[in-house]
Symmetry: C2
Subunit: 193 residues, 2 copies
């Protein structure tokens, strides 16, 4: 195993992932990551050239996380509607965190759109969105017509971003549950054609 997979490097990425989520990228310092890993600040530069590189690694890590989530959805059912409803319920599995810090990719997106730099991270982040969107399109394609599937997928993506941000701003768990149910009902109600 090369440098890229070293244990220390992994620990840095994992700690940064948590901190970027709970505090935001800009508000997370090397000292914060150092405190949580026990690895001294100066040592980071052996594994990463810049803070930006850590961000890139974190976004890559979130990509693999969502790949895993979608794989799990695929494994749990063959029915596209059931799969979509399982995915819609994903935020409920992280309920406490979602209320506190919002969506891990949505809030990072909000942060990065306001920044001139981080071009690679921004591109990688849209890859995460595209991954989810493509998977949704696949499912919707088996429910409705091909041209509607793309729109449905964007709608669902936006719907989930929407209720996540509202739930986190209002700190309203009940709303998170109601909105999840509502989105699932929307899936159920879709006509098969």
């Amino acid at each position: 195993m090369g440098t890229k997979g070293s244990a220390n490097r992994q620990r840095i990425v994992q700690a940064a992932d948590r901190l970027f989520y709970s505090r935001g990228y800009n508000q997370t310092s090397f000292s914060d990551i150092s405190d949580e890993t026990g690895i001294p600040r100066g040592n980071f530069y052996y594994y990463f050239k810049t803070k930006d590189d850590i961000l890139d690694a974190v976004v890559a890590s979130r990509l693999t996380f969502f790949k895993q989530v979608l794989d799990d959805c695929n494994c749990q059912s063959d029915d596209p509607k059931t799969r979509l409803k399982i995915f819609i319920a994903t935020p409920l599995g992280q309920e406490e965190q979602v209320i506190k810090y919002g969506c891990p990719i949505g809030t990072l997106g909000s942060e990065l759109v306001k920044d001139q730099d981080h071009l690679i991270a921004k591109e990688k982040l849209t890859v995460v969105f595209d991954l989810i969107k493509s998977w949704m399109v696949e499912q919707f394609m088996r429910i409705s017509s091909a041209d509607k599937a793309a729109d449905y997928a964007m709608d669902l993506l936006a719907k989930m971003q929407g209720f996540t941000i509202i739930a986190s701003v209002y700190k309203d768990v009940n709303y998170l549950h109601r909105a999840t149910q509502s989105a699932q009902d929307w899936i159920d109600q879709l006509a098969v054609n």
Copy 2:
């Protein structure tokens, strides 16, 4: 007119408002505001005790902005459906900015949920959301039943947050237009009862 309404104070708030929107609160420094206003850094503390106080003033400013927007909607039509559709189209009026920086209250909310401090600003920000939500409820009450009106309002609030964030992450103006139209269609299609 007292200190609160002084010309310099207003210029600081206006510049901060723009910068907090385009760069984010945490990424905006006193130097940035100083550069845009021409007012020296050290002078800010005559008008505001802390950076947090500037944030409070900015959020208050956005509150009055949205009050104005809603008043305009009320003036343009008496029909609740028409009013809602006008409001839904608001982001299109700031199309370029929305694509670049997202929603002025949504992205600020995303930033502030990750912060322990800024308690007053966070409260004031939910007041902005509540203002919009209450207005929506009023309109929906004239369309459907009272118990459904509250849910519809939350749905619409989430819907708009959702398509705004997706449009800004993807930098997709066409999607912003399609999603706006879709939300307006949803209003039209609502049964009156």
